[in-house]
């Protein structure tokens, strides 16, 4: 089988794992960890009935000034490394308002094996719940091999803000192999399904149809049932050497997606911040 054919099969297997058809076996040297955050509304404020740290994920309740809850994820060990099987399961129950952040960038490294690591983020938001997932960037270091999946289930009245930033390689370094899938369902129907694959041996990933030399790529998804229905796309910095972005309304619901590419992480964050400001402007 050609390398390209092998790759597309690998991706297909990833899709299979996502739909629950098979449980990845993991690698004997890898860490298996599942951290859980469950936020609930008690009629007055959001509480955190479950906060389960595991493996590299140390969870810390953070102070908020209102009735919402905020959790910081602090890296307790270097992860993900090749062979790791990592899961974060976050649920905001009906009417709960929860924000989750990470204290530092997540660095994917090669580790003891070249086997892929998996990093699954499951986000669930119930009726009238609000969930904000705003981690620091994910860095794909040379030699790393990571399959990341986001599976997001939203009730019809749930609100979501999700930011995902990927940096391909540290300074002057080739990236590892990073395959990510973002799958969002709202009221049981598909809202967004995108898979990206960067770094060798992916064919064409750095070419003019995909990244064209950019090393920072990110998305910001805002779902809000109270958002105005008619929104026009917003173009940010067309043709600029410092990257560009577009903010677009999705077909399947009251949702806006910003997609950005940039040469550096700071330029990427600027673009996504700018896109968010546009998204929140009525």
């Amino acid at each position: 089988m050609s390398p390209a054919a092998q790759l597309v099969n690998d991706r297909a297997a990833l899709a299979g794992a996502l739909s629950g058809a098979e449980e990845p076996a993991g690698h004997p040297h890898g860490v298996r960890a599942t951290a859980r955050i469950h936020a609930a509304y008690n009629g007055r404020v959001t509480t955190l009935p479950q906060l389960r740290s595991d493996g590299p994920f140390h969870l810390r309740r953070m102070r908020t000034d209102g009735s919402s809850a905020k959790v910081g994820i602090i890296g307790a060990m270097s992860a993900p490394l090749g062979g790791d099987r990592l899961t974060i399961d976050v649920t905001a129950g009906d009417r709960a308002v929860l924000e989750v952040t990470t204290a530092a960038a997540t660095l994917a490294l090669r580790g003891p094996t070249t086997a892929p690591a998996t990093y699954d983020v499951r986000l669930t938001a119930g009726e009238h719940a609000g969930l904000r997932w705003l981690p620091q960037p994910l860095i794909s270091a040379a030699g790393s091999n990571l399959r990341q999946t986001y599976t997001v289930e939203l009730a019809a009245t749930a609100r979501l803000l999700l930011r995902e930033e990927q940096l391909l390689g540290r300074t002057d370094e080739d990236p590892g192999h990073l395959v990510s899938r973002l799958l969002v369902r709202r009221a049981g129907r598909p809202l967004l399904d995108q898979q990206t694959a960067y770094g060798a041996p992916e064919p064409g990933w750095d070419g003019p149809a995909v990244l064209h030399g950019h090393r920072a790529v990110g998305q910001l998804l805002l779902v809000d049932p109270e958002m105005g229905t008619r929104r026009d796309p917003v173009l940010l910095r067309e043709g600029s050497q410092d990257g560009s972005a577009v903010l677009t309304p999705l077909a399947g619901g009251p949702a806006l997606l910003a997609t950005a590419v940039a040469p550096t992480s700071s330029a990427l964050r600027e673009l996504l911040d700018e896109a968010l400001a546009h998204a929140l402007r009525e």
């Binding site: 597309v8 991706r11 899709a15 899938r181 694959a197």
Partner: protein, 224 residues
């Protein structure tokens, strides 16, 4: 199956409107990202393995008999840029007109009635292939080939490239085109057991960004 039917469906002369679209290469040329045969080949390869794989999966699933309305929703979820959704539906409408005349079938009539503004083009292609007695893999081949071939043909006109060089690069991409079509057909085969999420959703950030930019231009040679 009729191999001639596959050649007809994949032929650039099939009156399905594809010649008016550049598959994003007009925007890439304007940004000087594509300027010669090598950069064009890199563009076509990137498109083939992202949008090409996704469209081939949708076409194969439609040809395999998966509910086209479910696939239309799946195609929307895989197309976050509204300009590209509009293009996919316009091309679907044009493909529908040609397909109903050449390979009439109840499936095509039903989809045309359910989506009068046009369904996503790969689904119509898949149903036309099904009506012609072709396999899901055939439909995937036609979709994958068009995803690389469309930009290559458009770039010949935009950059005044030698058409022989464009044919050469498509020939160099042929084994990758086969691999993409095979993976797409295998994914379509898994839909029955695993659901619609088994279909590929490979995407490219730049095609989404520049697709939306291109739609806002006042002067352009291609519609997308």
């Amino acid at each position: 199956m009729s191999r001639a039917a596959l050649l007809l469906l994949a032929d650039g002369r099939f009156p399905a409107g594809g010649h008016a679209h550049s598959g994003g290469v007009e925007a890439a040329i304007a940004h000087q990202a594509v300027h010669d045969t090598d950069s064009l080949e890199a563009f076509c390869r990137g498109r083939l393995h992202t949008t090409g794989l996704t469209m081939a999966g949708l076409a194969a699933a439609a040809a395999a008999g998966v509910d086209p309305l479910l696939l239309d929703d799946a195609a929307d979820a895989r197309t976050p840029a509204p300009a590209l959704r509009a293009v996919a539906r316009r091309l679907g409408r044009q493909m529908m007109r040609a397909a109903r005349a050449t390979f009439p079938s109840e499936d095509l009539e039903r989809l045309a009635a359910e989506r009068p503004q046009g369904a996503h083009q790969p689904l119509v292609l898949g149903l036309a292939a099904r009506a012609a007695g072709l396999t899901p893999l055939d439909a995937a081949h036609a979709a994958a080939y068009e995803n690389a071939g469309g930009p290559a043909t458009a770039a010949v006109r935009l950059l005044s490239l030698d058409p022989l060089d464009a044919s050469g690069l498509l020939a160099r991409l042929s084994s990758e085109t086969d691999a993409v079509a095979t993976a797409a057909a295998q994914a379509a085969d898994r839909v029955a057991a695993e659901g619609i999420d088994a279909l590929p959703s490979a995407s490219s950030p730049l095609l989404d960004i520049t697709g939306e930019q291109h739609a806002a231009w006042s002067v352009r040679l291609f519609a997308s």
